[in-house]
């Protein structure tokens, strides 16, 4: 019966070698969670920074959850994509972070990674774009199969999340 309200924004991203970035995001929760209102997933616009390195999206996130347990606390998974001059999109990084569990405003930095692939694929990526992507998006947050992957670092996605918690104290959860 406790409620969690996540209000915030995906500020932007830094440190990506590619420009023209956009971000697909989604929130994954356990079975105990019920979305009361808001959108679970979305996609930002493509931002091409004119000044500086940071791509700004300022993409709003507004979700209202009800939960009957603590398991499966909302997890935010991100996919940063870059769009090249031909309008093709290629993966720039996967990221994952938990939604903070304490109320208040939080600044989150979510580092990202992407699969590296074989040298052939790397070469192909460098010249013709594309590149290896995860077949199953849930690998981003489940992590069970990750040890198979060879990855390389992407940039960092910056998030600003504000949390409102309600009735957690009723069930003995202090926050």
């Amino acid at each position: 019966m406790a409620e969690v309200h996540v209000i915030g924004q995906i500020l932007g991203a830094t440190g990506f070698s590619e420009s023209s970035l956009f971000c697909k995001w989604g929130i994954h929760t356990g079975a105990a969670w019920k979305l009361l209102s808001g959108l679970r997933e979305g996609q930002t616009q493509v931002d091409t920074p004119q000044v500086g390195d940071m791509a700004y999206w300022s993409h709003p996130i507004d979700l209202h959850f009800a939960t009957k347990g603590l398991q499966g606390w909302p997890r935010l998974h991100l996919q940063v994509w870059s769009q090249d001059s031909f309008g093709r999109c290629q993966l720039a990084g996967y990221g994952f972070c938990h939604v903070p569990s304490s109320p208040g405003t939080h600044q989150l930095d979510c580092p990202t990674w992407r699969p590296l692939g074989s040298w052939r694929e790397q070469l192909a990526r460098a010249f013709v774009g594309g590149g290896p992507q995860l077949l199953h998006g849930d690998t981003i947050y489940s992590g069970a199969d990750r040890y198979r992957l060879h990855t390389t670092a992407g940039g960092t996605v910056h998030l600003q999340l504000g949390l409102l918690l309600r009735h957690f104290d009723r069930y003995g959860v202090e926050c």
Binding site: M1, G30, A32, L35, Q71, H136, D138, S142, A144
Partner: protein, 1522 residues
């Protein structure tokens, strides 16, 4: 004691001291070494070295001096370099002080130098000794000097020019300052001297030591050289006093430049040869040799070295010293102190044992750490090659690592042990042998081989006598050959096995015998072993036969083999023999030749046999021996021997040994002696008496144990995951690994898992897969049970705050959720309460009711059962369509999100410039376009509906009431008549009848929208002009201003025209002077109804509309007197009605909803679809505003070509029967019938999603539709009637984009409005259709490519290709598309009784409503009047409202003579109750509040086929005239 060495040491010490002092304490501190040196000569004595050194120092100064100073300078160099910066850094008192000190000294030195310069011309160091009594001081000076020199040379270059300048200046100064008294300068003087005259202090302070150094140079070497200026400067500085005292000094200074060359002395570089130096060093230094010292040197004379270690004494280990060092030390000791007892007896240096322990004596601290943090211990693991392997274990609930392997050691059996006796040894041997025997017997290899042999033999037999002749001989031969080879092999193996068996048996028996004998010998038994040989009797005869047969077979086989062998050998022999023969022949021939050749040598012939071989001794083949055929008897003999050896003899019983522990052990007391004969381990012993056949036995034994994984508390085996190897193999197969192929989360998805299992063809019987299989079977069979270990979120239930039910019960959450889902009831719910208790249960009632009633047809609202069904159906279609397009609505284009102001270009700028020149108030103002607002941030009150009512034409005028009425009641004269009449000069007193100057009507307009009412002022006359703007607020349903919501607003804007009548109600004529007492009555004349959706989609509605008037309007008539007819004759004569000019818009302008940009699937031909797209694109390119719609969407959401809708369909037979002779009348009747089908715009029902076209039968079933359906049905009826007819797409007022029907009559075109049933001639100015986009016939589409699109100015001749672009042409012929319409329409006769019932119910409801609307007044019903009206309504229906007015009025007059009557019939199609109520309300009949008013209301329903109902409502108010 070596005096020489002693000296050496001292000297070096002194040097060291000197070195130390010199740099640190400078010149001042040089007193200490000086004293030491003074002391030294007496102590040191006249040693060679000292004297030598002294001499060197003093006498040989020119030579010796250099190295010494060099040496010193090397060491001292470091010190003084630090000094100068100290004064430079700051003017501290210390700096000043030290500076002064040094100055003083330098002055002193300079003075002495100057003196010496005066005394001596030759600048040798020698005079210094004469002059200066203290050599030491000089020495120290030397020590300092070079360092300063070095310093100077460093800075020289930079300061040279500068100092030169200063120098001149300085000279001047000195010259001007001759009066300074001699002696030391005071501190202030010196200070001033150094600070004031030179600008930069650091330079100066550095220069000073330089200068002192320089002047010392001059002292020693006559200071000539290149560095003149600094030197002179130094001289100037230091020799201040002397210069002042002695005039020659001045000369010296001034004349310096001229005499520079005199001071220069060129010298060679000083060099001391290495050889010389070595020589001298050799004299001084002692270098101990590195070579080993002979022992005798180390020991006293005549003493032999003795080694205590050899004598058995303990000698500690000597410390490690390298041999060379040892030698050096020994040599040194021998030379230095030979008398001291450095050496031990063994001739080596005495040494204590090595004190270094090989291991650390410190207590290990490891244990302490361990005690503290056991868990923090770390284990180093080597880097290993990473092998990709899956370690996933489904449902590994236990943490890995807590495995437990239980090993149960049940027993240990020794095969040998030190405590074994001989008997034990034998027993164990016997046991082993027996085990072996058992094992062999179990395998029974011999028998297996025997069987095989038999089989092979059979095979050979059949092969030899083939029953299948077709078999090729070759293969049989080959096979037989192979078989035989195998038989041979197998036989050998069998023999070997049999032999082994037999020997084993023999050995067992032998060991047993040995044991028995041993037991007998030792007379006791200490092992329980007992061997029993069981004899199995065999059938003697059969055994014999078998044995014999076996031998025979074997013999024959062997014979065969031998024969084969023999054959082969014979062949070889023959070959060889041939060869040999040939050779022999050749040999003979040769011999013959030889014979002939050597006849003379007969002696040689005797040797013939020998020399035969001579010519080719190696090649001579031996004469082959023919092979012998082996005798059968021999072979048999052999076979029998072997059989006897390895096989049980025939008739011999089969021996089966059985070992048991049944034997009794002799009890201890019965043992003959206590001494056991023990067999030692590792010691050879023998069972034989003679000691032969020795055995060496080692302790050995067997451990019997059992191994198992332990079982945990919950019965879970504590075993590690399945074997890595197996899983690795599976993951290599990739598909076989569930997790890698479907992902981890897939494991929770049963369907996925099952699918994967099916795909990867898991072996359901594989125990590895059993849990998976079980799970899948459980999941697919639909049982609720899911094994625990497959849950990813374990312990979910235990940690839940609340149960699911409680969560679902929360009203707040439910409300939030429903709102989020955009459930219509909650879509725009705002401010959901925070607490559950604040939410009332009834919030959900509507929603729950709707859910419940989804499939229950509610007849209450609809009265008519059929319509209720239809409404339900429509609702369902609507829902499905909306769901279908819900997603499509979320696809946004860039323009949906971003409104970008156009960048002003030159044309816009130009236009704006023109605007400057525009008239401020144009004579004919035009409306300007406004900015569109997306309906997002709007709220109640933001949107207003602007209705601009401009003028009206042809309003009906009041008919003069019958004169008798008028005359009867004066008071009932209308006030307006009076008012209007009074100003008229020639108006009569009773001007009612007067045709001229009479105010015929005083109309005003009332606009009602959403129950808000506004009205204009009252104008006068039948053609009034108001030109007024009315503002009505707009409120969206549920406060939702989203696009979809606005599109689905069903409200209509009613524009009513009323006539305002003022009645004078003044009772007393006397009061007429003092007051006016009138009553205003208003009479409804007509109305215009415009749906809000039209306004919303059109954004503005501008035009002249026909006022919808009742067919009978009592008391009013359309006067066509000549007085008011002016220039409109021609236009008006054609039209019969009143018109109103309006402008309606919404403020702010709202962006209309977008049409769906979605492609629909279609069953049309692909080519046709492409053609339509092309056609549409071409049309849009030429005339973007003209409508062209080759394809439409049917009710199931499929794209259909539009011509398929047009097909001749039969109208109801009743309609055709009415006017069998007049096609025109029939056509009108049909049109009327079509118009009676209620109008329901798609845009409203489908919330702007799209325009759906239903077929005619669907339309008739639904009994609702918009223009398209009406038009299609009308068109189809006309086709049936044999008219030439087209669908006409265009824009009309007020509908907007719409569809009309065009028919070709005999010589003219008629435009039919299908929703109203009216028709217009082509040139009718008041035709609502304003533009035509395209015409659609049953077999073609024509697009309007004429210049004008107004029907007034168009040519409808579609055969002209220049005017009409046809879709199907020669290039694309009409393919003969089948129609989507049914073959025939079937009409049911409407139940008249039901209609009558409905009629009564409607009447009742309306009456109740009217009473409801008059809450404060009594509503009386005039039954008489009502019945009169009721009779009249069917007449109206029959005549369609034409030409009945007069008779009707007359009748009314006759019956209701006493009443003033105002009322009118309303005619409308029936859909449901609400529009009827709304229509009655909007007339405002109920608004009369005259106390004695009475009402009359009559309803008539005329049923048409297919449940189409025409509803007539006659509503009237009656006021009794008094």
């Amino acid at each position: 004691m070596n005096p020489k060495e002693e000296k050496m040491k001292i000297i070096t010490e002194e040097f060291l001291e000197n070195e130390e002092d010199a740099p640190v304490e400078g010149l001042k501190s040089s007193k200490l070494p000086r004293q030491k040196r003074k002391k030294q000569p007496p102590t040191g004595g006249p040693g060679e070295m000292v004297s030598g050194k002294a001499q060197d120092d003093i006498q040989e100064e020119p030579v010796k001096q250099e190295p010494e100073t060099q040496l010193l300078s090397m060491k001292a160099g470091r010190g003084p370099r630090n000094l100068p910066p100290i004064p430079a850094s700051s003017r501290t008192s210390f700096a000043e002080f030290s500076m002064r000190e040094r100055m003083r000294e330098k002055l002193q030195a300079a003075r002495s130098k100057a003196e010496s310069a005066l005394l001596q011309e030759i600048p040798t160091p020698r005079p210094r000794r004469l002059r200066s009594p203290s050599e030491k001081e000089l020495e120290t000076e030397f020590g300092v000097e070079p360092s300063k020199e070095a310093l100077r040379t460093q800075q020289e270059d930079g300061s040279q020019s500068y100092s030169r300048v200063k120098h001149h200046e300085f000279i001047r100064k000195i010259k001007t300052k001759p009066l300074v008294p001699p002696g030391f300068p005071s501190a202030e003087d010196a200070y001033n001297f150094f600070t004031f005259n030179f600008d930069p202090d650091p330079e100066e302070s550095e220069e000073k030591p330089k200068a002192t150094a320089a002047d010392k140079d001059t002292q020693e070497e006559e200071a000539g050289e290149e560095e003149e200026p600094p030197m002179q400067e130094g001289v100037n500085k230091t020799d201040e006093e002397e210069l002042l005292s002695g005039k020659d000094a001045e000369e010296f200074l001034v004349g310096l430049d001229q005499t520079a060359a005199d001071f220069v002395d060129v010298r060679p570089a000083d060099y001391e040869s290495v050889h010389v130096r070595m020589q001298r060093e050799k004299e001084i230094l002692f270098i101990p040799s590195r070579f080993t010292v002979p022992t005798y040197k180390k020991l006293p004379e005549n003493v032999q070295p003795r080694f205590p270690e050899d004598e058995g004494l303990y000698i500690g280990e000597r410390p490690e010293v390298s041999r060379t060092n040892q030698n050096i030390v020994e040599n040194r000791l021998l030379t230095q102190e030979p008398e001291r007892g450095w050496f031990g007896d063994d001739g080596r240096i005495l040494a204590l044992p090595n004190p270094i322990k090989p291991f650390p004596s410190r207590p290990p601290i490891l244990k302490q750490e361990q005690a503290v943090h056991v868990e923090l211990e770390m284990l180093y693991k080597k880097a290993v090659n990473y092998v990709t392997c899956s370690q996933h274990m489904i449902g590994a609930g236990e943490a890995p690592g807590i495995f437990q392997l239980d090993i149960d050691i049940s027993g240990l059996i020794f095969t040998h042990h030190p405590c074994f006796s001989r008997e034990h040894v034998l027993a164990s041997k016997l046991a082993q042998l027996y085990d072996q025997y058992l094992a062999r017997r179990q395998r029974n290899k011999a028998k297996f081989l025997n069987d095989k042999l038999q089989a092979l033999r059979n095979a050979v037999q059949t092969g030899l006598h083939p029953e299948q002749p077709h078999r090729s001989l070759d293969t049989t031969q080959k096979a037989i050959h192979e078989y035989k080879a195998e038989i041979r092999q197998t036989r050998k193996l069998r023999d070997a096995e049999q032999e082994k068996d037999r020997t084993l048996l023999k050995t067992i028996i032998k060991v047993w015998k040995e044991m028995k004998s041993l037991r007998e010998f030792q007379r006791f038994t200490n092992t329980p072993l007992k061997l029993v040989l069981r004899k199995e009797k065999v059938d003697q005869k059969a055994d014999d036969d078998a044995y014999e047969a076996e031998i025979q077979v074997e013999v024959s086989e062997l014979l065969e083999e031998h024969l084969e062998d023999y054959e082969q050998k014979m062949e070889e022999y023959r070959m060889a023999y041939q060869h040999w023969k040939a050779w022999r022949k050749a040999q003979r021939a040769k011999k013959k030749k030889k014979k002939q050749a050597v006849v003379e040598h007969p002696d040689e012939e005797s040797e013939e046999p020998c020399p035969e071989a001579e010519p080719c001794p190696g090649e001579e083949p031996v004469k082959p021996v023919p092979p012998e055929l082996t005798e059968q008897a021999v072979i048999e003999q052999q076979v029998r021997e072997r059989a006897a050896q390895c096989r049980r003899r025939s008739g011999e019983p089969v021996l089966v040994p059985e070992l048991s522990l049944a034997g009794s052990i002799t009890p201890n007391d019965q043992c003959p002696s206590i001494v056991f004969l023990l067999v030692f381990v590792g010691v050879p012993f023998s069972f034989e008496a003679d000691g032969s056949n020795q055995l060496i036995l080692m302790t050995s034994g067997k451990v019997s144990n059992s191994v198992a994984w332990a079982v945990g508390e919950h019965g879970v085996p504590l075993s590690p995951p399945l074997s890595q190897q197996i899983i690795g193999f599976r993951s290599a197969l990739k598909r076989a690994d569930a997790i890698s192929s479907i992902g981890t989360s897939g494991l929770t998805d049963m369907k996925k898992l099952a699918k994967w299992a099916a795909e990867s063809k898991l072996d359901p019987n594989d125990p590895n897969n059993s849990p998976l299989m079980q799970l899948i079977s459980v999941a697919t069979s639909g049982e609720a049970y899911v094994p625990d270990f497959f849950r990813l979120e374990q312990l979910q239930q235990e940690f839940n705050f609340v149960s699911d039910e409680e969560l679902n019960r929360s009203k707040r959450f439910r409300l939030l959720h429903l709102r989020n889902q955009e459930v219509p009831e909650f879509r725009n719910y705002k401010q959901i309460p925070v607490y559950d208790r604040e939410i009332q249960e009834k919030v959900f009632q509507d929603y729950e009711k709707r859910l419940r009633d989804r499939n229950v047809i509610e007849t209450k609202d609809h009265i008519d059962a059929h319509r209720a069904v239809v409404a339900k159906y429509l609702q369902q279609v609507r829902e499905s369509v909306i769901n279908r397009f819900q997603i499509a609505k979320h696809h946004f284009l860039l323009s949906d999100l971003i409104i970008e102001e156009e960048v002003p270009n030159i044309s816009i700028l130009g236009l704006s410039l023109f605007k400057l020149a525009e008239q401020k108030r144009p004579l004919r103002p035009r409306r300007k376009g406004r900015k569109k607002v997306t309906a997002q941030n709007l709220s109640d009150g933001d949107i207003k509906l602007l209705v601009n009512i401009i003028r009206a034409y042809d309003i009906p005028v009041r008919k003069p009431t019958a004169s008798k009425f008028h005359q009867q009641s004066r008071s009932s004269r209308t006030f307006s008549e009076k008012c209007a009449a009074s100003p008229a000069p020639h108006s009569p007193t009773h001007g009612v009848d007067y045709p001229l100057g009479q105010v015929l009507v005083r109309p005003f307009v009332e606009v009602s929208f959403q129950r808000t009412i506004c009205h204009t002022t009252t104008a006068e006359g039948p053609n009034p002009s108001w030109n007024e703007e009315l503002e009505l607020p707009f409120r969206a349903p549920n406060g939702d201003y989203s696009m979809t919501s606005l599109q689905s607003v069903k409200d209509d804007v009613f524009i009513h025209v009323f006539d305002e009548i003022l009645y004078d109600v003044l009772e007393d004529d006397r009061e007429r002077q003092s007051g006016i007492h009138t009553r205003i009555e208003r009479h409804w004349l007509g109305c215009v109804k415009i749906p809000f959706s039209t306004i919303y989609f059109q954004a503005r509605i501008d035009g002249t509309f026909k006022i919808d008037m009742p067919p009978v309007l009592l008391g009013y008539s359309k006067e066509r007197n000549t007085m008011i007819e002016r220039g409109f004759d021609s236009a008006r004569s054609l039209s019969e009605g009143s018109y109103i000019t309006l402008f309606i818009t919404i403020e702010p302008q709202l962006a209309p909803g977008e049409t769906i940009r979605e492609k629909f699937d279609s069953q049309e031909d692909e080519k046709l679809l492409q053609a339509t797209e092309k056609f549409q694109a071409e049309c849009a390119l030429k005339f973007p505003n003209r409508r062209c719609l080759p394809t439409v969407i049917d009710i199931s959401g499929k794209t259909v070509f539009i011509t398929r809708y047009l097909k001749s369909l039969n109208p109801p037979q009743e309609l055709l029967d009415v006017y069998p002779n007049s096609p025109q009348a029939t056509a009108e009747l049909v049109a009327c019938y079509v118009s009676l089908i209620p109008f329901l715009p798609d845009a409203v029902s489908f919330a702007g999603v799209c325009d759906l076209w239903s077929t005619s039968d669907q339309f008739l079933d639904l009994l609702a539709g918009d223009e398209e359906e009406h038009a299609v049905l009308l068109c189809n009826y006309f086709l049936f009637l044999g008219k030439k007819v087209w669908l006409m797409m265009g824009n009309a007022i007020p509908e907007g984009p719409t569809v009309y029907v065009l028919t070709w009559e005999q010589n003219h075109y008629l435009i039919w409005n299908p929703s109203s049933g009216h028709f217009y001639a082509q040139y009718d100015t008041f035709c609502p259709l304003k533009s035509v986009g395209c015409l659609i016939g049953p077999d073609n589409i024509w697009f309007n490519i004429q210049r004008y699109d107004s029907p007034l100015r168009m040519n409808f001749d579609v055969t002209k290709p220049k005017l009409w672009k046809s879709f199907f042409s020669r290039n694309l012929p009409y393919p003969g598309l089948s129609s989507v319409q049914p073959e025939e329409l079937i009409y049911q006769r409407t139940d008249k009784a039901a209609a009558a019932e409905l009629q009564d119910r409607i009447e009742k409801i309306l009456k109740e409503k009217i009473m409801e609307w008059r809450p404060r007044h009594l509503t009386r019903w005039n039954r008489y009047c009502t019945s009169t009206l009721r009779h009249f309504l069917p007449v109206l229906e029959r005549s369609q409202g034409d030409d009945v007015e007069d008779s009707h009025r007359a009748e009314l007059l006759k019956q209701l003579g006493d009443y003033r009557f105002s009322g009118f019939p309303l005619h409308m199609p029936y859909s449901e109750m609400k529009p009827l109520i709304e229509a009655v309300y909007s007339t405002g009949v109920h608004n009369i509040d005259v106390p004695n008013v009475e009402f009359a209301l009559a309803v008539y329903i005329h049923p048409y086929p297919k449940n189409v109902l025409s509803v007539w409502i006659y509503v009237a108010s009656l006021i009794r005239n008094r």
